[in-house]
Amino acid sequence: MGKQMTEMLKGTLEGIILALLAVRPAYGYEITARLREEGFSDIAEGTVYALLVRVEQRGLVDVDKVPSEKGPPRKVYSLNAAGRAQLDEFWKTWSFLASRITQLHEHVEQQGERA
């Protein structure tokens, strides 16, 4: 994954994870797997885990501990009301930013053509 991609993802990955959790509750490794399915192929499982710790600390998800046959009990993360509000905010911000950047891109290209 390119350096620029990594930098850009940094600010959005939390929102992306909340968006995936809005579909249904999930284990950490399921989130990573779904990210891969959606084309975010190079994100380390540890990085996803770090963000899950963060959204848990910030009270955006509810956590259920489920005993596991192997290894430690596994956490199931589900989006709560605060998380849903945060996700709404994320999509609003994303739409705003995406439309501004697209607009800028078009303007700059038009000016380039005229010059």
Partner: protein, 131 residues
């Protein structure tokens, strides 16, 4: 309530958790143990955590990830990624002691408020006069 002895020696509870962490670490398969030792070393030096309970919480969260990965047989490279610094920094950010920097941020904002006010007090277009 904190027992007086803990004020001298640090929290006994933190020490108990620290020992439990080390026991869990010793039980990991060798590759995962090497990985967690490397991550732990980096976190200890980069995160600059002073509070004992925050520190052990960080290590407990870390070992939970590594134990689960070992149990699932997730390759270490898939856990830490091509750039382990990326992962370690994202992880450490959750525990960084923010009290002192918060204070400094408040001071920075207050100093700028004062500066803006001083500029305003110079009369209209105060900045322009000196150009």
């Amino acid at each position: 309530m904190t027992r007086w002895i803990e004020k001298v020696t640090g929290s006994l509870e933190d020490k108990r958790r620290w020992r439990a962490y080390n026991t869990r670490k010793a039980a990991l398969p060798v590759g995962y143990r090497t990985a967690i030792d490397g991550i732990e070393r980096y976190l200890m030096r980069s995160a600059a955590i002073v509070k004992g309970d925050v520190l052990v919480q960080m290590l407990e969260d870390l070992i939970e990830l590594v134990e689960a990965s070992a149990a699932d047989g997730t390759p270490i490279r898939d856990v830490v990624g091509d750039d382990p610094v990326e992962f370690a920094d994202a992880f450490a950010a959750n525990y960084r002691d923010s009290h002192w920097i918060d204070r400094e941020r408040t001071r920075l904002a207050a100093a700028m408020d004062e500066a803006v006010q001083q500029q305003g007090a110079n009369g209209e277009g105060g900045a322009g006069d000196e150009r």
